[in-house]
């Protein structure tokens, strides 16, 4: 029983890492622009699918992965420039629908380019399972975990150590003030979208060997990433990471101990409970509502 639970934990942390990365992407964009980007999951799908396609076109895996990430980051930039920027100042409902429209659009592009089948990406270093204290672990899971740790550390350092990162954070705290001290908010927004799209792409590429990918793989991943960001306290990047891991573990435990069919319901039930009882998130700082 204990071994089983350990296995669920391992699975949960692997899945949770992906949610964490998607959630981090949500937080970056939300911070910079107050927009919740419902197309975030599509970045994950685009990264994975374009890597698969580039690999099939003959590029070596590392190169395909890098090219796919850059490509997706470019899509993120374009999304900001041509869909979000023109609708500046729109209501929450309007921006939600714009990003949902973008998600459907990207899904449509993907289905045209790569068809509607699930496609695999080869594992980075073989498929020989590793035994770890009674639990089995795919080598790819280590890639996911390692990749997540590195990316989160990089983003954390970027936001807190570099001038550019601090400028990005400044935009989230007070956009007008950021503008006054000479930060080009427009560029920062594009940067946030590009960065967050690239982040999603890497997540997609890391996990594709385990889960495969298809044109509609982004929907659930996007929603879970959004949930991670909410659980962690929307706009708190490291909270989103913690929220993602928590959500992944909870889901794996629910799937293993209750019913695998109900795992999504369990995850969202948890999100609802967080929203009802701790709406600022489990790891967010309280923001007093001003009247």
């Amino acid at each position: 029983m204990l071994e089983q639970i350990f296995q669920f934990l391992v699975t949960g942390i692997t899945v949770g890492s992906i949610y964490a990365l998607v959630g981090l992407g949500f937080a970056l964009i939300y911070n910079a622009s107050d927009v919740v980007n419902f197309a975030q999951g599509e970045f994950v799908m685009l990264g994975a699918m374009s890597a698969i396609a580039l690999l099939a076109a003959g590029l070596p895996l590392p190169l395909a992965a890098i090219a796919a990430t850059l490509l997706t980051a470019l899509v993120g930039l374009l999304l900001e420039r041509f869909a979000i920027e023109p609708a500046k100042g729109a209501s929450v409902i309007t921006t939600i629908i714009i990003t949902i429209g973008a998600a459907i659009f990207l899904r449509g592009v993907a289905s045209l380019l790569w068809g509607k089948n699930s496609l695999p990406l080869p594992a980075f270093s073989g498929n020989e399972p590793i035994q770890l204290g009674g639990a089995t672990l795919l080598p790819q899971s280590l890639w996911v975990l390692g990749g997540t740790v590195v990316l989160v550390a990089l983003i954390h350092a970027f936001l807190n150590r570099t001038l550019l990162g601090k400028a990005l954070l400044a935009c989230s705290v007070n956009r007008a003030a950021a503008q006054l001290v000479g930060i080009n908010v427009q560029i920062m927004l594009r940067l946030a979208y590009g960065l967050s799209a690239g982040l999603g792409a890497v997540a997609g590429i890391l996990v594709a060997p385990i889960t495969f990918s298809s044109y509609e793989a982004g929907i659930m991943l996007g929603l879970k990433g959004f949930s991670a960001a909410i659980v962690g306290g929307i706009g708190n990047p490291m909270g989103a990471v913690a929220g993602g891991l928590l959500l992944g573990v909870l889901e794996a435990l629910g799937a293993g101990l209750v019913s695998s069919g109900y795992k999504d319901a369990i995850a969202f039930m948890f999100v609802l409970m967080v929203l009802f009882f701790e709406p600022t998130g489990l790891f967010g700082h309280k923001v007093a509502e001003r009247v």
Partner: protein
């Protein structure tokens, strides 16, 4: 006249099948459009007038549909009684959910309603014993209205058109009443509304329940009309489509929501021709309308026309004035 628009709309709905008898667009697409209108008008009460988004409205639609499907096929309940049960279930769940969920705002509310929709959808897929799982439930008997059985497309057109007109009439009445004004006041300034003695929580709760009832009502009709229900008809995508109808038509306008519902139904019908490009065009259109006409087609266009008229009229005035001065 308060209801002039309503009577014109009702007359055209009644005329369509006379002008185009046995026309596919009238009897098949028209039925789908009619159901969408009921859903959109109900959702508009919540979104347009109370200012609350719901990305999980398909759940209430589904509750009505499954209540009718399960009760009529498994327990041989008469259709109308099953419909009432569906309304009761959806209304009760909405009422229980309203207080915690409507305390949330903006993105939080979007997430919560979306999560609720997914939970209900998962239950539809997983509770196979009751719902038939992903394969759905078939052989739902035709609706029997006090001895009259509705069983062909023409009759269904009549029933759904009547139901649609009823929902529009109810909606118009509610908006133009003490209750509707209270609701709009809460949206305009919650602070001031409370100082006028309006219990804002109660007002929002009420309208959330009403909106769920509209959806469940449409769901029951849908189940009988299709004679089959499956979870696909109540997924997240459907919730998004419903929101789109309301926003596309223009929020805070009952006829706007109705027009949005009809326009989007026709659009989906048209997009089917493009098969592979359907998603692409759908996504692009959503973005384009929201970017260029954020108030929605109906409200945006009618305001544009009005502005155009004023412009032409004022130019006319200026010319008249010039002439008067010159002469």
């Amino acid at each position: 006249m308060r209801l002039t628009g309503f009577f014109i709309f009702a007359a055209s709905v009644a005329l369509l099948p006379v002008l185009f008898p046995n026309n596919y667009f009238v009897t098949v697409v028209g039925i789908a459009a009619g159901l969408h209108v009921i859903l959109a008008v109900g959702l508009n009460l919540l979104m347009g007038y109370a200012g609350q988004i719901s990305l999980g409205h398909a759940a209430f639609f589904g509750m009505g549909a499954y209540a009718s499907a399960i009760l009529t096929t498994r327990f041989d309940w008469p259709g109308l009684l099953a419909m009432l049960a569906g309304l009761l279930v959806a209304g009760t769940i909405a009422w229980l959910l309203a207080r915690p969920i409507l305390r949330l705002r903006g993105h939080y509310l979007a997430m919560a309603t979306l999560g609720f929709g997914i939970i209900i959808h998962v239950i539809m897929v997983q509770a196979t014993h009751w719902t038939g799982g992903p394969d759905g439930l078939g052989e739902i008997p035709p609706l029997n209205l006090l001895g009259w059985t509705v069983d062909d497309d023409q009759q269904w057109y009549g029933v759904i058109a009547a139901a649609m007109l009823l929902s529009i009439w109810l909606s118009l009445n509610m908006i133009d009443s003490r209750i509707g004004r209270a609701l709009r006041a809460v949206r305009g300034s919650e602070f001031a509304a409370q100082m006028m003695g309006i219990d804002a929580t109660r007002a929002k709760t009420q309208i959330f329940v009403v909106s769920a009832l509209f959806a469940a009502f449409a769901g029951s009709l849908f189940a009988h009309q299709q004679a089959f229900v499956s979870p696909d008809s109540f997924s997240l995508i459907i919730s998004v489509e419903l929101v789109t109808m309301v926003v596309l038509g223009g929020m805070a306008s009952t006829f706007g929501a109705a027009c949005g519902a009809i326009a989007l139904t026709l659009l989906y019908e048209g997009l089917m021709v493009f098969e592979d490009y359907e998603m692409l065009i759908h996504g692009a259109l959503l973005m384009a309308v929201m970017i260029f006409l954020p108030q929605g087609l109906f409200v945006g266009l009618s305001q544009g026309i009005r502005r155009g008229w004023t412009l032409i009229a004022s130019r006319q005035d200026v010319q008249d004035a010039r002439k008067a001065i010159q002469s």
